[in-house]
Every structure is written in structure tokens, then in C-alpha cells.
Amino acid sequence: MRLREPTAADLRPELLGTAFRSPILLASGTAGFGLELLRMDHLDGVGGLVSKATTLKPREGNPPPRIAETRFGLLNAIGLANPGVDSVLSDILPRLSGLPCPLLVNVAGSTEQEYGLVVERLEESDLPLGYEINVSCPNVAEGGMLFGADPAAVERISRRVADRTRKPFSVKLTPNEGSIVESAAAAEEGGADAVTVCNTFLGMSIDWREAKPQLSNLTGGYTSPTLLPLVVARVYSVSGSVQIPVIASGGVGRAEDVLELLSAGARLVEVGTLLLRSPDDVCRLTKEMEGLLE
């Protein structure tokens, strides 16, 4: 895999059967299901939106505190809180018809079967462009990152999904366990149309004076623009070892960071923590990249 010099064409990528107006995707868990952003009229210049994880049954998520800010980043242990696929189908997707960009539904499960069942249900709606299969959540006791660390499980889950949809899907991998390169190859083998590199790095923060964890779940996913070099390395390694496109996720704090990830081989780039802080900043990224490439 050679490094690429990003060009204007990379800002209008065509993949997954779609012409995206920007390589920026809003990362799962940081854009809800898009309703808030739709209300805020805040989706200009954004290429697409990845929904909060959707599971078969509604999930309450982990007990609070679920959020802790550290000196240089953010820890979260939401635990896949979501209303469940029935409610997503009946209450949410119908309200998203005005969405000005494609939607990928992030799908999670605590058993391998569950992934297939959720996708099967979601096929009832035409709205989603496709799916992001989350085998990498660091914040749940069952499934999550344990699947992602095992290439055989990744392949089986990918196959299950591929058997149930003709829509494109990406498999979101974990950087915490196993080999991300092997898991990416397994996803490709199982029929994935893309891989997302990667979910959050496992982190923890302790109030040592009280010997108390900052999160009720003890550990969480750590996000920060300081992690960009870790994501660049993994995007580069995976891009060099699979044929399917790579979606980068993690570490973007500014337009240059997106260009660096594109140079490393990413075709689309998710932005999460920055979106929580400022949807306006995220909407500006594409314009800023255009400026940088001039």
C-alpha cells in the first residue's frame, strides 16, 4: 500500500455504490439517529451519518456516570443504550426522510445471531444506505469487542449479514484485542463491503485520592484528537491488506487530520468527539479541506 496525496476527487468519494458529497461521516454514538442534527439544520457538508448502535431489544445502557473527561480526552461507557430495532423502525426512521445525506445504521448484538436478526428487521426500511456492523464496543460485557478480536467470529457475523442484505455494510473493528489486520481480512472474506478502523481504545481514569473509578463501568472508550497517530497506523496497515475500502474512525480534530487519514488509505472518515463539541466545526471540515488542497 502506497501513501496517497489527497486530491479534490477524494473529497467526493464514490464507494458503496454511492457518490458522497464529502468524505466526512458522523460517527456512531455521537450523532444519535440524526433527529437532533436535522432539527438544528446542521448537516451541510457532511457526507453521511452513522446511527447510534441498534440492538434487537431496547437497551438501557450502563449506569451513570457514563462520561468522564480526562486531562487530554474523553472516556465514555454508554453501553449501547438504544431503543431497540422495533422502535428504530417505527418511531425513528420514518422521521428521517428529510435527511440530506446517506444513513448507515450501526448494528450491535450480544450473540452472533442477533446481528443477523437486527439486519433482517432493518431491511424493512428503504431509508438506510447500509449498515455498520459493530463487533468492537468496549463497553459491554457480552459480545462487543470479544467478537471483533476473533477473526472466525468476524467472518461468521459478516457472512450472516451478507446473507440477509444486498445493501453495503462495513464492519467496525477493535484496536484493543487480536489483530486488526486479520479481523479486517476476515470481514472481507465474510462479504463485508468495507471495514471501519476503528472503534475506541479501551481506557480508564481513577480518582486516586478516593480509589474510585471515574466511570461506573470502570473502563470506557477513550477518544481524543491525540490518538490520531494510532488510527493513521491502523488505517495504513489495514488498507494495505484488504481490497475493500477502509473507513477511518478516530482522532480527527481538524481538517488536516482528515487529509492525513485519506493519505493513509481511508476513503471515508468518521468524526465523533469533535461533533459532540461542535457540529458547526464538523460542517466546516470539508470546506477547510478544499482550501488546504488548493
Binding site: 437532533e36 432539527r39 439544520d41 449506569p63 457514563r66 418511531d91 457540529p279 458547526d280
Partner: protein, 262 residues
């Protein structure tokens, strides 16, 4: 879930810091000019302030709207320095321009009738705004010391300080236990969780039904997408930022909340 109500939703605006006042040691009042926020805010709503344009802290910081001056297109917050974000904010000088998101959340259901307000520490920050919109007959306020007491307009004002420097020497709860709260049509309660819990434990079922609580929680987004800020409620977790921050007191699962965050 948020209703797709057609209202444009919260905005990110550049607000100009206009006046800074250190109202007590470590407690600051800031006035910001930001007409979009001043026009739309309701008592009990909050704003999310980007305290630094640098990379860290990575999230905004939430503050209750303490008062609005609609003619000036300005709003005020009152805050205590408790950590890094509030320290940066406190060091701002007038003229500074900051990104502010808001107004956010659901404020008080401002009904007719008589109100009693109970506030501990910075919990009273939002009372000035509320007391402009409702008929406040009684306010019970507590603070560590007279220095930290926030001002509040009310027919009757009862005060407790931990060091006895003003009013009763003790806790807000001591005054609450003595007050005749059944008299009032509405109660507003805001303060540290253990204090609110003690008050709620004491209230009769009947008064509890008429009480609204302004809750706090660690927030990442403040506008409903991250699911980070949940408060244990009787029907499950509810988002502090969009389902609240003001909740009917009887909606909250007080024992659960105390256990996790108290």
C-alpha cells in the same frame, strides 16, 4: 428521543463576554451578549460554553442561564471554579468571544400560583431568572459561607450557612425541615445531590408532586446525542440534557441516583 418539532433547535453562536464580576471568592458572574440565546431562553435552561478554543478540554461546560436581559440581548451565568474548565472560564476578560450553544434542555414548567425555591450552593444560580417569571413567595438558600450565597428575589428569604456567617448556622435542610412547604403551589429544588435527596426524603408525597428538580450530570454533548448524561428515573434512565435538566421530582429514582452518583 427528541421530538421532531420543527423548532430550529439549539444554536451555536459566538457570544461576547461583556461583564465579569467575582461575586464571592471563586464564584463569578459573567454576562454575555448573544441575542439568539437571550431571546429564546426559558428559566431552567442551560448553555454549553466552549471554554477554550484549544484542543482541551475536549467538551463544552454546561451552565444554567441565571438571568436574561432581553433589551441588551444578553444573558448571565453564575459559576464556581471547581476544576480546569471553570478556571479557564474565570480567567476570561471582557471582550472575549466564545462559542456558546443554547438555549438547551427543558426548563421549569412555569405555572401560576405561589412558588417556594430551595437552593444549595450554585444550585441557586438559575433562581433569579425563574423569579422573574413566577411568583416566588419563599426562597430557602444555603451556602458554605455568606460569601458564596447567591442573590434571590423572594417574598420571604431564609438562609443557612455552614459557618454561621449569615442566617442559620447549618444546612439548607435544617430550614426545610422547619418550613411549612404545603402552603406553596410549586416547589423548585436545585443543589448538590445529597442535599436534594435529603430534602426529597422529607417532603410529603403531596408536596413532592408539586416539586420540580433541576438536575446535574456530567455531559459530553448537551444536545441529546451521546446518551452520556442519564439520570435514573422511575421509568428508566432519562437524559439530563434534553429530557431535563428540570424534572418532576417524582419522576426521579432518588435511591438509585444517590447510590450511583451521591
Amino acid at each position: 428521543m427528541e421530538s421532531n418539532s420543527g423548532d430550529p433547535g439549539p444554536l451555536e453562536t459566538m457570544a461576547t463576554l461583556n461583564t465579569v464580576e467575582e461575586v464571592a471568592r471563586g464564584v463569578f458572574r459573567h454576562r454575555y451578549v448573544a441575542p439568539a440565546i437571550a431571546d429564546g431562553a426559558e428559566p431552567g435552561q442551560f448553555v454549553q460554553i466552549e471554554v477554550s478554543h484549544l484542543a482541551f478540554p475536549v467538551t463544552r461546560r454546561p451552565f444554567t442561564v441565571s438571568r436574561v436581559m432581553e433589551e441588551e440581548g444578553a444573558f448571565e451565568i453564575v459559576f464556581e471554579v471547581v476544576g480546569r474548565g471553570t478556571a479557564i472560564l474565570a480567567s476570561s476578560i471582557p471582550g472575549r468571544s466564545l462559542s456558546v450553544m443554547g438555549p438547551l434542555g427543558r426548563g421549569y414548567r412555569t405555572a401560576e400560583g405561589s412558588w417556594a425555591l430551595i437552593g444549595g450552593g450554585m444550585g441557586a444560580a438559575g433562581f433569579p431568572f425563574l423569579s422573574e417569571r413566577v411568583d416566588v413567595r419563599l426562597a430557602i438558600l444555603g451556602a458554605r459561607s455568606t460569601e458564596q450565597l447567591l442573590p434571590c428575589e423572594a417574598g420571604e428569604l431564609l438562609i443557612a450557612t455552614e459557618d454561621g456567617s449569615r442566617g442559620r448556622c447549618g444546612l439548607v435542610t435544617d430550614l426545610v425541615f422547619e418550613a411549612c412547604l404545603d402552603r406553596y403551589d410549586h416547589l423548585a429544588l436545585c443543589g448538590p445531590l445529597p442535599m436534594m435527596h435529603a430534602v426529597v426524603e422529607f417532603l410529603t408525597e403531596d408536596v413532592l408532586e408539586r416539586t420540580q428538580v433541576s438536575a446535574e450530570s456530567r455531559m459530553a454533548c448537551g444536545w441529546g446525542v451521546c446518551e452520556g448524561c442519564v439520570i435514573p428515573c422511575v421509568d428508566g434512565y432519562r437524559k439530563c440534557c434534553t429530557d431535563g435538566p428540570v424534572f418532576p421530582a417524582s419522576d426521579i429514582d432518588w435511591a438509585g441516583w444517590m447510590e450511583l452518583c451521591g
